[in-house]
């Protein structure tokens, strides 16, 4: 027994921990490195690297369908994040003021989309939207994204709300604020970082979603994931999508470094949580 403990103890020595950490980052980043590598490949054949080239970066704007898919992805992500953040924040304020029993019930309902397998959520939404008098496409995909984003905003905002002293809000009302003003002036400013974190999670979930979008779109409305899935192994699979992906990762890294340099450490911590 002691021997095992000793081995585990060794394992937790700094050097082996550092080694595992590097390995972990490696396994997470390797596919991204491969994508970046292929984005600079002159050949469109992915199994052979012929020469360095930036031509696929220009292709992003020349391939109409791909560009459209990129615009669609960003648009859906922005709108759904905006709506989900607004609705999610107000809902969380509402849930927070419920009595404990009801709050727990609401949280169960809230958590269902989070734990439900994507594929089941996608299928469910497809079935419900099929009953509604709306045509499939951007509107249905947008509704779906708003649907799966709100719970994340609620989950992100609620813990912070709990810490909040709601007497402040009552005080604001006593001082003549309307309820709405009270929320905007008192509650929202003190949960800013959580709202931002929730928005970031919502945006991330939306921009990367494939399964739910796949089931809820129609009429030719594609996001990048669907564009990729319907072209795997085909000639119409334009390597420009590697370039797009590399750009997204690159820009994210830059933004992160800038935020870090500016010293908004608090905020990034909030985001990770």
């Amino acid at each position: 027994m002691m021997n095992i403990l000793k081995i585990i103890g060794k394992f937790f020595q700094k050097r082996s921990l550092a080694f595992i950490t590097i390995f972990a980052y490696g396994i997470i980043y390797l596919p991204i490195a491969v994508i970046a590598f292929l984005s600079f490949n002159e050949s469109s054949k992915s199994y052979i690297f012929t020469a360095f080239s930036l031509k696929w970066y220009g292709e992003i704007f020349l391939d109409e369908r791909l560009f459209e898919a990129i615009v669609n992805t960003i648009m859906v992500a922005l709108i759904s994040t905006l709506v989900a953040t607004l609705v999610g924040t107000f809902t969380a304020i509402g849930i927070n003021s419920l009595r404990k029993r009801n709050r727990a019930k609401m949280m169960i309902l809230n958590n269902i989309p989070v734990i439900n397998p994507d594929i089941v959520t996608g299928v469910s939404l497809m079935l419900v939207f099929g009953l509604l008098p709306i045509s499939f496409g951007m509107s249905t995909m947008l509704l779906a994204h708003i649907f799966f984003s709100i719970p994340f905003v609620v989950l992100s905002v609620l813990p912070k709300l709990k810490e909040l002293d709601l007497n402040l809000f009552d005080a604001a009302l006593d001082l003549g604020c309307t309820k709405f003003q009270g929320i905007i002036k008192v509650i929202i400013p003190s949960i800013k970082t959580s709202i931002l974190a929730g928005a970031l999670i919502a945006f991330t979930m939306s921009i990367d979603d494939f399964v739910i979008s796949y089931f809820t779109t129609g009429n030719g409305f594609q996001n990048v994931s669907i564009w990729i899935y319907s072209r795997i192994g085909r000639r119409s699979f334009n390597p420009a999508v590697y370039s797009y992906n590399t750009l997204v990762v690159f820009i994210t890294i830059i933004i992160l470094i800038v935020i870090n340099k500016l010293g908004y450490n608090k905020k990034t911590k909030g985001m990770i949580r």
Binding site: L17, I20, F23, I27, I32, S97, I112, D208, L256
Partner: protein
Amino acid sequence: MSKLKKLSIPYLVWMSLLVILPTILIVLLSVTDLDIFTLGSFQFTLDSFAYLVHPEVKIAIVNSIRLSGVATLISFLIGYPVAYYLANMKSKNKTLIVSFIIIPVWSNMLLRIIAWEKLFYPNSILNMFGISLDLIGTDLAILIGMTSMYLPFMVLPIYSVLEKMDRSLIEASKDLGAGTIQTFFKVIFPLSLSGVVSGTIMTLLPSMTAFALPERLSGGKTLLIGNIIEDYFMKTGNINAGSLISILLMIVIIMMFIGLLRFDKEGETLI
């Protein structure tokens, strides 16, 4: 305080419409012969249950549990030390380094799967470095893929618990004569369990129900339960059997979730 209650009502309506209604519909589809496309009259029938004993469904269930279980275990074995290291790191760029683990999520998951797929064929860009892998169709390929995709979701919850842990507890433990190892197993690890539980859920759920990942990395040869559902809904049009499998999957996962979250009374520490 109660003045704000009303704000949760629209959400209740919205969620009922989009969670409860489809769930009822799926249950209905799985125990009747209702044709979703025409929505005509229907009869109760247990025909769909016959699919549960189809060899392909049985194998897919076993595959899902086996592969997602092993992938989650690997993610935990790698993820815990990583979270531990990151939490105890003393660098002024700590937040940046931690944030880097989440960046890959911004990269399209399908593309990352395709990238692994390309490496796993014998003739690949790896040949440039004198390496030739032949992993397509093996469990190892799927496990590597899953670990690569879902490891960040294991690391982050554990990290955030370890990071917030009260240092004085650790010191107290040491003062009372416990060694490093004892301190770890008696104090640190038990206190970080809620993070481990969140991480397990966040890794287990998506890997269990993945369908694009096994499809690409197994050369179409390993079916998971997600592949069966996709097949039934999108390829063979067998909506009733697909619904039954979906609803069972949903029940299993919610049960698992409730089981794992005994620690968490209100289900609020999911992220």
